[in-house]
Amino acid sequence: MKEDASLTILLIEDHDDSREAIKNWLEWKGYRVYAATDRQTGLELARKHPMDLLLCDLQLPDGNGWEVLEELKTLGPITGIITSGHCSGADMARSKAAGYLEHLVKPYPVEELMALLGRVEKLVKGRKPR
């Protein structure tokens, strides 16, 4: 984990392989990643470490990604990207309504994620000027 990572990412994903793969990828790309398997663990992590981005699966063993973002927003400003295996229009609309920047349908190409992370970096820079 790099000390000068441009983003601190909270990854919540209950599919173990996916979580590991995504975490590896993100860390390889130089981001600081905290990974959780469920909503509760994710929330606990977020309370300990300030997060810039939430990358969250829609369906979680103990809740859903929409709730998670809502709860995280009470802790501080955070950007959200939600992922799911479904691509229903209603779900996507609801994700937007819940405040997510983007709803990615799994499996999404890494390029798509990277493009989004680039946008988030800009956003976060704007949020906390250094």
């Binding site: 995504i22 590896n24 990828w25 295996g85 799994k106 190409p109 890494v110």
Partner: protein, 1156 residues
């Protein structure tokens, strides 16, 4: 207590004592010190002197060594009480002798050398004197003295000092008493007086000046001030006293209040007004009287004018108030409230004068009443009344006078006779007025005046002077009664009396002049006793009428009467009166009395009387009152003998009347005709129906009333009957008064006399139209009901079947005969019996059911589902008398519906579970791809890995992506098939979408090998649609083009507008499509005509999905190809939004907002 706050007296005493004691003490101390010092000095000097003397005298003693002498010399010190010891030392310093001899040796210094230093010590004084003889030192004298003496003196001294101090203190206190009377007493007195003055407000008090010092000056100044205050106060008191006296002397009630409204003063008149002595402590404004408004409403005390004036500090004027005293009498007062202010402008209260205007009001009221009475009296005077002043001007006239004078009253007032009447009449009136003024009791005369009717009227006029209080005439009153009518009547009466007499005797009818005075007096008495219904009284008291008959006095009869009653002369007739009016005629007398008492002056009737010869005669009589001297002294009876006429009439009338009565009231048309058939009479109903006039009835041709089609037939049969003299009957239409035809059943019967001669025909015609119509209607309805396929039945309100058609027989299996009269329950399943009761209850309220689904039982016991329509059957009065039901068998329909519903349900649920399954499946299929994709992507970019491996990783990755896309396509397709494709509509820029789609294709392996040209030429390029889905469409099309276009080929994406459409074509230079396959290209799993290695990529769903998406947007996706290797053109057409349309503008503005 601080010193400051101590009374002056104590301060002075304290100061004095402290000062004097301090002075004394210091003086004493100084003297003490001085005494001490001087005593010591004296003692030293004395002892030294004594020592020297002793020493000088002792040289020899020592020289002689005479010890006893030495002791004797030493004992000389006895005279000095202070000396406690003395001794001689020899030249060697040894003790030689001592004083006193008993004193222990050790108490002396052992040697002189070792002796104490001479001088003062703490407890004693030591002196060494050398004892010389000549020049030779013989020894030393030692003297020791203590201070006892000195201390004794000092003690005495101190005691004296203490005594002086005490006496000085006592003296000081005594002096202080003097100070009190000299300084503080006058001040206290001053203060005391000021206190008394402020309490009693008695400024006449003075303080006695006792000294000429400052206190004296103060006292003087104080007294001067008091003097001024007293003079001011006395002036004020004078003024106040004068004010109070003035108030008390005022005839009106006056009171004053403080600003809070508490009564502070009142005068005797106020006591009178209040009806009690007010209490200054508790009473308030208006001496707390019970107040009323002038219209009688109670008034709140706190809203009385004085209260308003004080509270609101505004003038209250012209407000009248009624005060009720405790004894209930009331005073009508006008308050004059005024607020009072002190010199500083503070409100100090108010003064109110209540002016009692009760008497004035009473006087006004009684005047008004009196005037009203006068006016009413005058208005109802039967004659004219007026008043003129001395100048002849009218000051009053009643309406009758104004009417006769023909001048409106308001115009009459102020005018003189000259201005109102013609000159000669005015002159007469004026002359009469003068005469009246000259006479104290007035004059009476007859005056003439032309009235409105144009005739000269005569009036008796009384004119009289109306005096002023001093007795001199002030006004002239006049009253007139029109006597014109009376005069005329009198003249007419005289004329008529003469005429009457001549007629009375000459006329051919019997005339009786009778005097009913006595009778009417008796009747009057009876009524006075409370008898109201005279007829009943007569019925109940038969003797009364007989008595009355005796009281009637026949004044006169004429000659015709004598003849009618078969008498020889009047006297015989008058002598036989009781016979002439038999008891049977008494009811007539009752009628007469009744008429007379009722005030009617005319009565006509019939009576049966007897002649003098005993023959009965019937007479028609008329009674009338003639004007006479009394009320009932001239009652005239005229009698006509109608005996014969009555007889004939009676017989005729009876039969005719009876017939007409019947004929006019039977509900049929009736007529009579002569033997030849000519109509002679028609009854009322006939006239009413035909509209023919009554006077036109005899012999008219009623043939005209017949319907042209039936006339010939009817008349023919009638003629035949008449000819044969036989009864006739026929049905035919006949015209009514409005021209309508109705059917009549007509009969005619011949009427024969006893001799068998045909007298006339009597005919009737009964209206049978309604019956005929009803019969027809019933026949129609019956036919309809019978032929109906539905079961139609009716039941009575108690649930019995009353009708049952063939449809019912078919449906329920019962024949009509089997069920009519039985309970409806036979066709209702037992569990639904309640339902039928409910139906009938609802019908009773006149409410029906339509297509009410229920179950019924057939005769064979099987159940059928029927649709039931129920409606009430009403009789002519609108009352519900039964229920009609139409039942249709819907068993089959019902079953079919249910099956359909079941099928739909299962289809829906199957569909739903399929959807759910597909969703879950795609989720499950895609999830495992994630880690692979990420891991592969990572390795692919990891430059530490060999290039070849990374290329191969790219292959893996691409295939994973393809698989993922295929899963998406499958899901989409299943959605499309289930019509569950969800579209999120918005305003979409197609050019934007196309750009993005091209961008996404960048990752395609053929990117770079095939050139892509994008020509966005459409002007209107916005549509309503789902951005993601539309992107999917173009991505699919471009992807498709890339797939089938060889390297070096070209794909062109071009947009254009066609009318309201935007057209986007994606053309490639690829393999094209064979003509036979082109129709199936959009079918799922179809990759027709494009076989080859490319076809392995994907399931061939892309185009199918693209087309469905476009169709869902209301657009079209078409394909064209000139054949193999000729390329293909896919064209999307969608409805474009107008560039300046509202939707687009809204989208733009919301976009701007987001940017902002």
């Amino acid at each position: 207590m601080a010193f400051r706050d101590l009374p002056i007296k104590r301060k002075l005493v304290g100061l004095m004592l402290v000062t004097s004691l301090l002075v004394l003490f210091m003086a004493g101390t100084a003297m003490l010190i001085y005494e001490y010092q001087s005593y010591r000095r004296e003692m030293a000097a004395k002892l030294t002197a004594m020592g020297l003397i002793v020493a000088n005298n002792s040289g020899a003693v020592l020289g002689f060594d005479d010890e006893n002498l030495a002791r004797a010399i030493l004992s000389g010190f006895r005279v000095e009480p202070e000396v406690t010891g003395a001794a001689f030392y020899d030249a060697q310093g040894r003790l030689y002798a001592r004083y006193p001899a008993t004193k222990a040796l050790g108490e002396f210094p052992p040697t002189v050398a070792e002796g104490e230093t001479p001088g003062f010590h703490r407890t004693h004084f030591v002196l060494y004197v050398p004892v010389n003889q000549g020049e030779k030192r013989m020894g030393t004298l030692y003297v020791q003295a203590d201070y006892r003496q000195m201390y004794r003196r000092l003690r005495t001294y101190l005691m004296i000092l203490a005594g002086v101090l005490v006496s000085a203190g006592v003296l000081g206190l005594m002096l202080a008493a003097g100070i009190e009377s000299g300084v503080s007493a006058p001040l206290l007195e001053l203060a005391n007086v000021a206190k008394i003055i402020s309490r009693r407000r008695d400024y006449s008090l003075r303080v006695v000046k006792r000294s000429r010092d400052e206190v004296g000056t103060l006292t003087e100044a104080f007294n001067t001030m008091l003097g001024q205050i007293q003079s001011r106060d006395s002036k004020l008191r004078d003024s106040e006293k004068r004010f109070r006296e003035m108030i008390d002397a005022l005839p009106a009630a006056v009171y004053t209040v403080d600003p809070e409204g508490r009564l502070t003063h009142f005068n005797p008149a106020a006591v009178e007004l209040a009806g009690r002595i007010p209490d200054l402590g508790t009473d308030r404004w208006c001496v707390s009287g019970r107040l009323y408004h002038t219209d009688g409403r109670p008034m709140n005390l706190e809203e009385c004018p004085m209260a308003l004036a004080v509270k609101e500090q505004r003038p209250v004027r012209d407000m009248e108030v009624i005060i009720e005293r405790p004894d209930g009498t009331r005073c009508w007062v006008v308050p004059h409230p005024t607020t009072l202010w002190d010199a500083d402008g503070r409100l100090t209260g108010g003064i109110d004068m209540l002016v009692d205007i009760t008497e004035r009001k009473n006087a006004e009221e009684s005047l008004r009443k009196s005037e009203e009475r006068f006016a009413r009296f005058m208005q109802h005077l039967p004659g004219l009344a007026w008043i003129k002043d001395l100048g002849g001007r009218y000051v009053y006239a009643n309406s009758a006078a104004a009417d006769v004078f023909q001048v409106a009253r308001e115009r009459l007032y102020g005018r003189t006779d000259d201005e109102v009447f013609p000159p000669e009449i005015a002159a007469t009136f004026k002359a009469n007025d003068h005469a009246a003024l000259a006479s104290p009791i007035g004059v009476q005369m007859i005056e003439e005046l032309k009235h409105r009717d144009g005739e000269i009227h005569h009036s008796i006029v009384n004119k009289f002077p109306i005096p002023a209080p001093d007795g001199r005439p002030l006004l002239v009153g006049g009253m007139a009664i029109d006597i014109t009518d009376r005069k005329r009547a009198e003249e007419a009466l005289q004329r008529s009396e003469a005429r009457y007499r001549s007629i009375f005797e000459g006329v051919a009818v019997s005339l009786w002049e009778e005097d009913f005075t006595a009778v009417m007096e008796a009747v009057g008495k009876l009524r006075a006793q409370g008898v109201e219904d005279l007829r009943r009284y007569c019925d109940e008291h038969p003797g009364f009428l007989k008595e009355m008959r005796g009281l009637i006095r026949v004044v006169d009869v004429n000659e015709s009467t004598v003849a009618m009653f078969e008498a020889r002369d009047k006297s015989e007739l008058l002598g036989a009166l009781p016979d002439i009016f038999p008891d049977a005629s008494l009811p007539v007398l009752a009628e007469e009395l009744n008429a007379l008492t009722a005030g009617s002056s005319f009565l006509q009737g019939e009576a049966t009387l007897r002649t003098v010869q005993g023959n009965t005669i019937e007479v028609l009589f008329a009674m009338s009152l003639l004007p006479g001297t009394g009320e009932y002294d001239r009652v005239l009876f005229s009698l006509i003998d109608i005996t014969r006429r009555k007889k004939v009439e009676r017989a005729l009338h009876e039969s005719e009347h009876r017939f007409r009565m019947i004929a006019d009231h039977i509900p049929v048309l009736a007529w009579t005709a002569d033997p030849l058939g000519h109509g002679t009479w028609y009854n009322r109903q006939w006239h009413e129906y035909t509209g023919m006039a009554k006077d036109n009835e005899a012999g008219m041709g009623w043939e005209a009333l017949h319907h042209p089609e039936h006339r010939a037939r009817v008349l023919h049969s009638l003629e035949q009957s008449i000819a044969a003299g036989e009864p006739w009957q026929e049905s035919f239409p006949m015209r009514g008064r409005q021209g309508q035809y109705r059917w009549f059943l007509s009969r005619a019967v011949p009427i024969f006399d006893d001799a068998g001669q045909l007298l006339r025909w009597f005919g009737t015609a009964v209206d049978v139209t309604d019956v005929r119509e009803a019969e027809q209607l019933v026949a129609h309805l019956a036919a309809i009901v019978e032929s109906s396929q539905d079961a139609i039945l009716s039941e009575t309100m108690d649930g019995r079947i009353s009708t049952w058609n063939r449809g019912a027989e078919r449906l329920f299996g019962y024949a009509s005969e089997e069920v009519v009269g039985r309970s409806i329950a036979v066709i209702i399943p037992p569990e639904r019996w309640d339902e039928d009761v409910a139906i009938r209850r609802r019908q009773a309220h006149g409410e029906g059911y339509e297509h009410f689904e229920t179950v019924r039982v057939r005769k064979d016991g099987s159940r059928i589902v029927v649709s039931l329509s129920v409606s009430p059957i009403r009789d002519g009065t609108g009352a519900t008398i039964g229920v009609s039901k139409i039942a249709r068998d819907i068993t089959d329909k019902k079953r079919a519906e249910e099956e359909l519903e079941r099928a739909l349900q299962s289809a829906r649920s199957a569909n739903r579970s399929k959807d759910e399954f597909l969703a879950a499946l795609s989720h499950e299929l895609r999830t495992p791809l994630m880690p692979v994709l990420f891991t592969v992507s990572m390795w692919q970019q990891d430059e530490t890995l060999p290039e070849k491996l990374r290329t191969n990783l790219g292959v893996i990755r691409r295939n994973i992506e393809i698989q993922s896309r295929m899963i998406n396509d499958l899901l989409d397709l299943s959605r499309i098939r289930a019509n569950r494709l969800e579209l999120v509509f918005g305003v979409v820029d197609l050019h934007d979408i196309i750009g993005r789609a091209v961008e996404v294709c960048r990752g395609h392996p053929k990117w770079g090998e095939v050139s892509i040209q994008v020509l966005l030429e459409a002007r209107a390029h916005h549509v309503r649609g789902d951005a993601d889905r539309l992107q999917q469409v173009f991505w699919n099309l471009i992807q498709n083009g890339l797939k089938f276009t060889p390297a070096g080929g070209r794909i062109t994406v071009q947009s254009s507008n066609q009318d309201r459409l935007i057209r986007v074509s994606v053309s490639d230079t690829g393999r094209g499509i064979e003509a036979e396959s082109i129709d199936r290209i959009f079918e799922p799993f179809e990759q027709c005509g494009r076989r080859g290695k490319e076809s392995l990529q994907g399931l061939g769903l892309g185009l199918a999905i693209a087309q469905r998406i476009v169709t869902s947007h209301g657009g079209s996706l078409t394909v064209a190809s000139d054949g193999e290797n000729q390329g293909a053109v896919f064209t999307v057409e969608l409805e474009a939004l107008l560039p300046d349309g509202p939707e687009l503008e809204a989208a733009h503005s919301s976009l701007k907002e987001q940017e902002a």
